[in-house]
Symmetry: C2
Subunit: 172 residues, 2 copies
């Protein structure tokens, strides 16, 4: 989105068999709520194909790369590294003061390496209850973009026509 | 939450092996973002145990029931039935006019029966892009409660102490 912060998601701890669906949800949520792309620490060609097929059909310039060296990604990131975790500081306190430059949003699977709490610039909680990295990411992005991401046009080859009843789609 | 609408989630199309993690995320997100409980159309004792273990530890009065007759639940619901779907009307248009009585929020897995679009009072999209029922539910509830759900106290036997670094928890 023009004038919006550049946002990339870094997904850690993905185990292709076990986390297939949840990581797919992380990727599609990142795209739908305005992130530019996702980096996944584990190599997973199937996941890449799934996400790219959605981008090809529904539009936008969202990228995915899997098998990244996550420590290096964090170390070399030119901007703010935000770790979403139930143990972090309240999003209500953090978001108003967050630098709106390039954001790397880190979301783990069930366990994350404890060093992540140290190397992130900010550890942010979307509530301090256990829930879901998909939920945390969606709400963080919805608030970051003040609700505007869901109104964005993606310019895909197919698009949904919002309807009171049933499923309507049209081409281009 | 006192004075808040009564909100129950109805999860359709859950296949215990395939959707185990995503449905768990749906349930925990519902609880963390202020819903009263969740009804799951497929019987799944393991899911019930997982969710109840979180409630026992982290508090609140959230309930789960699995193996419900979903058509009857919808038919007999005293309040508004809201179906969250990428094909629906924009949340920005719907939410300001939604009756704040008892809400039944219906979320499907990959495919939902087409009759659902007819029996729901409202079909609502959190953006018209494919993403995740976990994301849709989180953002809908975050907006419904105007961001207050994540500040709620659950009074559990353990609680997280929000921290800039690391994991801190305390009893009671």
């Amino acid at each position: 989105m023009a004038g919006s912060p550049h946002v990339v998601i870094l997904r850690l701890g993905h185990r292709p068999a076990r986390d297939k669906r949840v990581t797919t949800h992380v990727c599609l949520t990142a795209r739908a709520f305005g992130a530019d792309g996702v980096l996944v620490s584990t190599r997973d060609r199937t996941l890449e194909r799934t996400v790219r097929a959605v981008v090809d059909k529904f539009g936008g310039a969202f990228f995915i790369e899997t098998g990244v060296a996550w420590r290096r990604v964090i170390r070399e990131w030119k901007g703010t590294v935000v770790h979403l975790t139930m143990y972090g500081e309240p999003v209500d306190d953090v978001l108003p003061h967050l630098a709106r430059d390039a954001l790397l949003l880190v979301v783990g699977a069930e366990k994350v390496p404890s060093e992540l709490f140290e190397v992130a610039h900010v550890n942010v909680a979307i509530g301090n209850q256990p829930h879901s990295e998909v939920a945390a990411l969606a709400v963080f992005l919805d608030r970051l973009f003040a609700g505007s991401a869901v109104r964005r046009e993606f310019g895909g080859s197919v698009r949904v026509v919002p309807s009171a009843r049933g499923k309507r789609m049209r081409k281009g």
